[in-house]
């Protein structure tokens, strides 16, 4: 895999807290720490995966990176420029450069707009080309993402789920962005269609020289298309490395549990499942120190007292754990 080492997006200690307001004067009494100090670097033309369970903050992270949420702390640098606090007009220009593909093909398309207008909207807003030209570009784009001719004038409800997602992809591509955040882009699709979509995204990546941030809960999907992956747990990145390493030699016990929990469609595959106890704690009051300690099968005393930092334990392999590698993926047992 050829990979240029230019970073396109860099986030440092990025935070996004949502206030919890209550009481007489709607004072903020607490925060939902959806993203709590995440640092990452994304290189040009790579596919970066963010995985985690629901509520871990992965979608918020994606949105915050694109300034669809205002970050509560930290900084975002896009192509060398700090965009953490840029104003609306500047941001509007930037919006051409990074785009998003959404999860739900039903709610992500305005039901009262024709597919053509939806895709064209970005062009229109950024006043790219003439009206006639825009229509032409849009028609081509719709064709490129594999939609039948005549789609331009159709409404979203006239498409199947997969086709809608193609419209969503066309919309994201319209302004020729550099970076696309795909938030659970294929989760809602049927298995047979999901594969088509992943293929399409890979094709487009090549054609348009795209960089993807691929947010998903589905490890198998992430594994199959990402170069590097970050695993998130309760608003924090707990492990980040390239795909092969992550799946062959995960260091964080959570990653191990996560990988082992995914059912493999092979009747002979021997499962060594690490079944975690309990539920994901609430991000309002995350457990102190290591946030995973309440469910960790290899927890030690220090885990309750000190927060492990995301450190480069091996070259290119970051992990936030006091005892990295103590849980083995293949045997599911504790490695002494």
């Amino acid at each position: 895999m050829r990979m240029s080492k230019h970073s396109i997006l860099e986030a440092t200690k990025l935070k996004k807290y949502f206030p919890i307001q209550t009481g007489l004067f709607r004072r903020t009494v607490g925060w939902v720490r959806a993203v709590d100090g995440v640092s990452l670097k994304i290189y040009q033309e790579e596919t970066f995966g963010v995985v985690g369970e629901s509520g871990c903050g992965k979608s918020t992270l994606g949105m915050t990176l694109l300034r669809l949420h205002e970050p509560s702390g930290g900084s975002i640098v896009f192509q060398g420029k700090d965009i953490t606090r840029v104003g609306f007009s500047h941001l509007k220009k930037l919006r051409r450069e990074f785009q998003m593909i959404f999860q739900d093909p039903f709610s992500s398309l305005n039901p009262r707009m024709r597919a053509g207008s939806i895709v064209e909207e970005g062009l229109r807003v950024h006043k790219i080309s003439s009206a006639r030209q825009r229509t032409k570009i849009t028609r081509e784009l719709l064709e490129r993402v594999g939609l039948p001719p005549g789609s331009y004038r159709r409404f979203p409800h006239e498409f199947s789920g997969g086709q809608r997602q193609r419209v969503g992809i066309a919309r994201a591509l319209a302004t020729h962005p550099l970076l696309i955040v795909a938030d659970e882009a294929v989760s809602a699709l049927d298995v047979s269609v999901r594969a088509q979509m992943l293929n399409l995204m890979l094709d487009l990546k090549k054609d348009f020289h795209l960089t993807y941030i691929f947010v998903s809960h589905d490890l198998s999907v992430v594994k199959s298309i990402c170069n590097r992956i970050m695993v998130m747990y309760l608003g924090k990145g707990v492990e980040m490395t390239n795909t092969t390493k992550l799946f062959t030699k995960p260091l964080h016990p959570y990653t191990v549990a996560l990988i082992s929990a995914v059912p493999v469609p092979d009747p002979d595959y021997l499962m060594n499942r690490v079944i975690l106890d309990g539920d994901v704690p609430s991000p309002v009051n995350p457990p102190p120190a290591c946030r995973f300690h309440t469910r960790c099968p290899v927890k030690q005393d220090i885990c309750e007292q000190e927060e492990p930092l995301l450190e480069e334990k091996e070259p290119g392999h970051f992990v936030a754990c006091h005892y990295p590698g103590s849980l083995d993926l293949l045997e599911g047992g504790i490695r002494q």
């Binding site: 209550t22 009481g23 007489l24 004067f25 709607r26």
Partner: protein
């Protein structure tokens, strides 16, 4: 919950202040001559500089902020002013009329809610069948009837022809009983007080007079509840937990009455609460037609005669009722539906 209530109550003065400002500025559009017309009721009073003297006496020519300040000052001292329409202080004028309106609203709410819910549920259970269509159309027809037209039909049939439901609040004799010293007032609502006092004759008299307005309000009003009950029931019937209940092998009666109805009644309960509140402010026409004492007809008369003190006092009173009533509805909503948390 506590904070929710406290917060809402905190906004009450603000709301009242806003109401007073709106009404005040509406009245300020009027010339002093127009506003003094309340006291100049006949041409004979136009003599000499009477109009000017009255304007002076009531300070109607002062700058608006002085007039507002004066009014506010009185309110702060607990004095809502003099109601020329009620012929007594605004506060007592309202307080003495309110029980009658409350009584009417409550008795009307009863059949409105009961009929509306029952027929609405029926309609939902017979979705798209003739019964459903019949019920809905007849409800919409009722909903489309102006209350004054229907009220007159009721008077025509039930008083003029049948002699059953006389107009008014209380007959002279019953009134004398109520005013006598032996009659103890507990609630101010004659139907209840008369029973508590064991005076069935008074109860019958007042109940007969209530029947007409109640009938009118019921026919004109039950459609709304019916519609809510119907669509809410339909929605609930399509919910998964209904399927769960069926999959447990429960009898259809249990499924409908226990699992569906309780959930379907949540929006109905809210709307019912709002209906009672709306009825309190919506009895104007019916009270006028049936010549009933009440705050609605009082307010309408006051408004027509441009009695500033009564209008603003009454509006503030309604403001309080509305805010507290809605608060009550919200709180009870939270009690019915365990999912709702007020904060």
């Amino acid at each position: 919950m506590f904070f929710y209530i406290a917060r809402r109550l905190l906004f009450l003065p603000l709301t009242l202040f806003g109401i007073s400002l709106i009404i005040f500025f509406m009245f300020m559009r009027l010339s002093p001559e127009q506003r003094v017309a309340l006291y100049i009721t006949s041409p004979e009073r136009l003599r000499g500089d009477n109009v000017e003297r009255l304007i002076d006496l009531h300070g109607l020519r002062d700058p608006w902020h002085i007039q507002y300040g004066r009014w506010m000052g009185n309110v702060v001292r607990g004095n809502l002013g003099w109601s020329n329409v009620g012929k007594e202080p605004v506060y007592s004028a309202i307080m003495r009329r309110f029980p009658y309106t409350l009584e009417l609203a409550l008795y009307s709410a009863l059949p409105i809610i009961w009929l509306g819910t029952w027929l609405g549920t029926l309609s939902a259970l017979y979705h798209n069948r003739p019964l459903d269509h019949t019920l809905r159309i007849s409800a919409v027809v009722g909903w489309s009837f102006p209350d004054f037209v229907f009220g007159f039909f009721v008077l025509m049939i039930f008083y003029s022809i049948l002699g059953w439901f006389p107009p008014g609040t209380l007959g002279a004799e019953a009134d004398a009983v109520v005013k006598s010293s032996q009659f103890r007032s507990f609630t101010g609502m004659v139907t209840i007080d008369s029973l508590l006092n064991g005076r069935l004759d008074v109860f019958i008299d007042t109940a007969r007079r209530l029947a007409g307005p109640v009938l009118t309000l019921t026919y004109v009003g039950f459609a709304y509840i019916l519609r809510i009950a119907r669509s809410s029931m339909l929605e609930v019937l399509g919910r998964e937990y209904i399927r769960t209940a069926r999959s447990k092998g429960l009898e259809e009666k249990v499924v409908i009455n226990k699992h569906a109805r309780r959930n379907a009644m949540i929006p109905v309960a809210t709307v019912s609460g709002q209906t009672i509140i709306a009825l309190l402010g919506g009895t104007v026409i019916v009270e006028t037609i049936f010549n009933r004492v009440g705050i609605g007809s009082f307010m309408a008369t006051a408004a027509q005669q441009l009695d500033f003190a009564s209008v603003i006092g009454g509006s503030l009173f309604f403001g309080v009722i509305l805010v507290l009533g809605n608060l009550l509805v919200d709180v009870s909503y939270a009690l019915i539906d365990p999912r709702v948390r007020l904060d």
